[in-house]
Symmetry: C2
Subunit: 747 residues, 2 copies
């Protein structure tokens, strides 16, 4: 059965429409009908990509059977067990959670194993922070606890520290550097503020925290304090816990300060697997970790420094939510910070559990969630771990009836994610050959539930499949399909942009395009990174999001989830259902639901958007610094991929419906090509960070978390570098030509 | 001598370029050369519109002579005298300032007269505000004063009150309604919050305060408290006074709550002059003033109510700068408010001073500033009054040498502006026939200096003239022409929009357009309103702006200006110079510098922008509610005005250079037509508020201050009313056809 593509270009609207018409003919049983009309003329998904008409009913019935196994009380019980103790990667409590997960999955019928990996990481030995002047006051490096929540008083938690922080002691005046991004330090220099030897006080947000330390170090500062401004996740967003989801004034955001956008994983084994006997860099040889000390702190404590800064008023956009006017400093505040970190090679423990496939057991659908936490990690990550265990139980019950999926399903409970995606990266590097050959897709759930807004990020080839699954799962509160919820939000966010884009299309002589929903673009910050960016495996990342004000603090605990975030655990249940259906479809589909038309259409739109931003940047500039490299060959290359994908999709869909003949002689030939296409978009590695090989997806060099699609071109625009833009085109064209070639090769 | 137009359309670029070339031929003496290249290819003004080549040197010399008279210490002395006492309209202290201004101008050689006008207005008799529950606390309705500023302790100031407030007493629970705009009350209703009988707590900002009360009254509330949130003008913007320009926690923004967008002036004489014996509505017949009581309050006091509200968290965008999460209420806070207002018909005093013209004494260039203040009014309005007095002194010294301008210059020191533009509106209505016949332009300066950022608003026909004057006055701190400062800021704000608009133009097959600077669009809120909106007189409004955190509080006093805002009074001097040069050019130009090509080009751009917004709004809507009325006839009408204006400007510039022959036989014929053109854009009055007659310029119906250009179409888009859009076109076309006809009539 075929279904209309969500993102076909206007040029192929006729084709699209004929497919829509076809899709309506044979009545197909969907688990849930789409109740309401979608906005903007968007076509609701109707079929199930990759399944023959006579196999759809059985597939949906099997998904529903697993869904009926999922129970909120079971999810709650898992979460309570997982979050009894602080379980930082490599600690005994962490090992206990690994054992629990392995033992549970084994009990549910999975082949579940502990995979121990030795990694280099730090625990804090000494953490001291005090105001020396104008008054001497100790600044707290622990939360105080709140009444009614036993876990809030965590005597067995570490003091505030950063993963991969440098040891050091600094006594110095303080300057406020906003988010600590490259432009913020430049702005301070333009203001004539002396930075050398001083301590930077920066706020969390906008970019990954490690890059804040990197930027401070490059600007000559001696230490960095990173605090959570209430405008980001405190009272300006939500009532602070225990009343609401916002950050309390004493809550400290711990976290890694690895230079994430240079590459994740154990920094002493960059680009190769970490093993007991294998090669390992010496601490002095390490790149991508700070040389200057850093500490996180709460806004309650940061206020005592910040309100004592003088100097010029902070520039426009630097003011946060504390009740006074921010100044850049320095001023009367002198601060002493001291951190001593205990570094060692220590074991961490992934749990890898397999349900072996019946037909193509070597092919794998990999599902992942990390398990290690900065303290209790009730939302991040163990709401996701609870879902994984419940998913294991649900599919285990199916398996107990004798069913096996067409392909293998592999559950991975990662360790050491918080330090730098250690468990997934090292495992990905160790199993690179197998994954390159056999990984169908990777489906990540980090914190599963911090609110009620579903966010789905992913590589675009998976967009149609995930849209179909969203149609079949209901939002627990809104009582309508998640697909409608997600599309409505996309419509309210994107309607004006879409109308404006259509105006441009009409002026260019192209017809209007229908409004469409697409998964968000993956940057970094969770375990999908090695799969997408290093191995070219299609991936998804899903969460019910909300204001997660206890993020990385002691208050991200069981009471927070149980009483505030998801009382009743209905959203945990919905995520488990969503995840297990995605897994079942990917593992069971006869034809893999990978649609590179969507990848190509996204890329064409992105080129358009980058060209407009380049045009904006060039406005009024002399010719020599304008972006004027010709992008026509690039557009042609991407259009080749679009055409090749569309052609193969049409022929494969027809073969599926008519039981052959298959392009290339067999569905296996088609599936092999589809699995190779994302890999074909890997290139020689991005400039200065060769570990990142995808030519379409990458985190920004100066963002860490956020994606900068078409990174060579995207970075060039961000940096106003017209020459880099010119150099970018070649490798991208080669990648898209390769990908088109793979699909064109199936004749 | 002619000069290049700043805002010619791409279609007439060739014409424009030939004029640029001409402009470079005869070397003309400018007071200050434009030192730096302007960004984006913008053409710097080079000539002086309306002056023959052989008269330019003398004109610039005369302007420079007046400029040399201006002295900071004299400006400072004027301000100290004007702000000695609180001088609310109609009080003895207000009369004393009127006498001072009249006496000073008379001493400087002007024919200066007091014009007494009886108006209906209120003073507070009783002002009480207290928290009843959960604790009983009196809330302060006065400022406390700050050390080092004698004026801050103003025993002789009124308690907090609103101009045109209703008397009343309410004890009720409180709901928070954000800015109190129409959509805010709708949002509360959608949240299911009971509004009837309660007190609305709303924050200042976004819309005119009177409309907040109007909207609350329509939504069924019983009373309104309006507070200054620190995010608007308090610590989130600037260090509070006395350290900086921000609002202190106890500062109260007084102000009028007249429904300004229905029409300004004495509400008991709507549309006709207020006289002792003339017709006057009874209080029960009044429209445009509140029926429910209202009070202003400080954020220090508002916090004590707001932090006690429960109910749902305030919607996205409603959170302000106080250090807790805002809720919409109600909650434990119960408040009692009582205001008793003493209403009476009382005299106010305009001062009108004339320097009679030598050649066309009946034609007048009107300069205006109000003099009445809510307390001391050091910035608002008396920084402007000081400038007017110094301008009077400077031109008076010129006149003492025997010089008289070609046309008369009239200085107006308005009274009662704060209550509702009373002095200017009533005077304008009383002198409507003369002004319609003879007013060349009106140049307003309200608060002259609250910072260093020059803002110039105006009708577009005056844009070229004012750009030329900006070129000839230096920014005191940046030491370069104001024109460069203003263009640089416009470029940094508008560059991306400009680049995007050019992309659209290229796609439409039109050539790129040069970046251009235009005056801001006038809405309402100061004394230009009757001139532009009711009488169709071209107008300007100028100020050096900044964060004016003491606005309408006791702290807008001499110390604030003298120590914080403009120490040295250099910006006062710059404003005086700017104002006197504008006055001299308008009064002396042989050919009036009114360029309706600019008006037409702005209108065409505005139609384009409105159509795009209408298109955005229509996206995904059914056909019946889409904006699809045909705007081609409107564009054609506006293009007729553009062509007629361009043709007349070219022929007149040629006549000026070659000493005739003049279109229509004489320069007087051309000038008469130019003066009639803005008047021709007046129509039958806007729907529901017929006092507003301009078809291009008006304040928004729901904004009060901010302009909504092409108000019939603009309101239709804001309200999503496709039918109103259809009805709008006819009257606008008629107005532009009339204006084109006036200029075409000069053959």
């Amino acid at each position: 059965m075929k279904r209309p593509l969500l993102s076909l270009a206007a040029m192929i609207v006729l084709v699209c429409c004929s497919r829509v018409a076809q899709a309506h003919e044979p009545e197909i049983p969907t688990a849930i009908g789409v109740a309401e009309p979608a906005p903007g003329g968007i076509v609701a998904p109707t079929g199930i990509t990759g399944f023959a008409p006579d196999s759809i009913a059985a597939q949906l019935a099997r998904e529903a059977r697993a869904a009926r196994v999922i129970r909120p009380d079971s999810l709650r019980r898992h979460l309570r067990t997982l979050t009894e103790e602080p379980h930082v990667a490599g600690t005994p409590a962490d090992k206990a959670t690994a054992d629990y997960v392995r033992q549970r999955l084994a009990a549910y019928g999975w082949d579940a194993r502990l995979v121990e990996i030795p990694v280099w990481l730090n625990y804090p030995k000494v953490t001291e922070l005090e105001l020396l002047e104008p008054v001497r006051e100790t600044l707290s490096v622990r939360e105080r606890g709140v009444r009614g929540d036993k876990d809030g008083f965590a005597a067995n938690a570490f003091d505030a520290f950063h993963g991969y922080a440098a040891s050091g002691e600094v006594s110095a005046q303080v300057v406020y550097a906003n988010y600590g991004d490259v432009d913020d330090f430049k702005a301070l220099q333009r203001l004539g503020i002396e930075l050398r030897g001083r301590i930077a006080l920066v706020r969390y947000g906008r970019i990954f925290r490690g890059l804040k330390v990197r930027n401070a170090e490059r600007a000559g500062l001696a230490g960095v304090l990173i605090y959570s401004d209430p405008t980001e996740d405190g009272y300006a967003q939500n009532d602070p816990y225990p009343r609401g989801q916002g950050r309390p004034p004493d809550a400290i955001q711990r976290g890694s300060v690895q230079y994430l956008s240079d590459g994740p994983g154990d920094p002493s084994t960059p680009g190769w697997p970490s093993t007991a006997a294998g090669k390992r860099l010496k601490p002095s040889e390490l790149k991508g970790v700070p040389r200057i000390p850093s500490l996180p702190l709460s806004y309650g404590e940061a206020q005592r420094i910040l309100e004592r800064l003088d100097g010029p008023q902070a520039p426009k956009g630097w003011q946060g939510g504390l009740p006074f006017t921010y100044h850049v400093g320095p001023g009367s505040a002198r601060v002493r910070m001291k951190t001593v970190q205990d570094y060692a090679v220590r074991p961490i423990w992934n749990v890898v559990a397999t349900l072996t496939g019946r037909e193509s057991p070597q092919q794998k659908v990999v599902l992942g969630n990390h398990r290690d936490a900065w303290v209790y990690g009730a939302v991040d990550p163990n709401s996701g771990t609870a879902c994984m265990l419940e998913l294991g139980r649900a599919l285990g019950e199916l398996a107990a009836t004798g069913w096996r999926p067409r392909r293998s399903i592999v559950l991975c409970s990662w360790d050491g994610e918080e330090y730098g995606l250690l468990g997934s990266t090292e495992w990905g590097e160790a199993n690179a050959a197998d994954l390159t050959q056999n990984a169908v897709a990777y489906v990540n759930v980090d914190g599963a539930v911090s609110g009620r807004d579903l966010s789905v990020g992913g590589t675009h080839a998976l967009g149609d499949m995930v849209a179909e699954v969203l149609r079949d799962v209901r939002d627990p509160q809104q009582r309508r399909p998640l697909w409608n919820v997600v599309v409505d939000r996309a419509w309210s966010d994107g309607r004006t942009t879409w109308a404006a884009a259509n105006r441009m299309r009409r002026l260019r002589g192209e017809p209007n395009r229908l409004f469409e929903w697409r998964p968000g673009v993956l940057g970094s910050g969770s375990d999908y990174t090695v799969f997408v960016d290093h191995l070219g495996v299609p991936a998804l990342d899903m969460a019910f999001g909300g204001m997660h004000g206890t993020y990385h603090s002691v208050y991200d605990d069981f009471d927070y989830v149980d009483r505030i975030v998801d009382p009743g655990f209905q959203y945990h249940a919905a995520m488990t259902d969503l995840w297990q259906r995605v897994a079942q479809r990917l593992a069971e589909a006869e034809l893999l639901p990978l649609r590179y038309t969507d990848t190509a259409m996204f890329t064409l739109d992105e080129i358009q958007s980058l060209e407009e931003r380049a045009d904006d940047w060039s406005a009024g500039k002399p010719d020599s610094s304008r972006f004027n490299a010709n992008t026509t060959p690039l557009r042609a290359s991407v259009a080749r991929l679009r055409n090749a994908a569309l052609d193969l999709e049409r022929r494969s869909d027809a073969a599926l419906e008519q039981r052959g003949p298959w392009p290339g002689g067999s569905v296996a030939a088609v599936n092999t090509a589809l699995m190779s296409t994302e890999r074909a978009l890997l290139g020689p590695g991005l400039p200065g960070r060769e570990w990142f090989r995808h030519e379409l997806y990458a985190p920004g060099l100066n963002t860490g978390y956020a994606a900068v699609p078409l990174p060579r071109m995207g970075q060039a625009v961000l940096e106003g570098d017209a020459k880099a833009w010119g150099r970018a085109l070649g490798p991208i064209i080669q990648a898209f030509d390769r990908a088109a070639g793979v699909l064109d090769g199936v004749k």
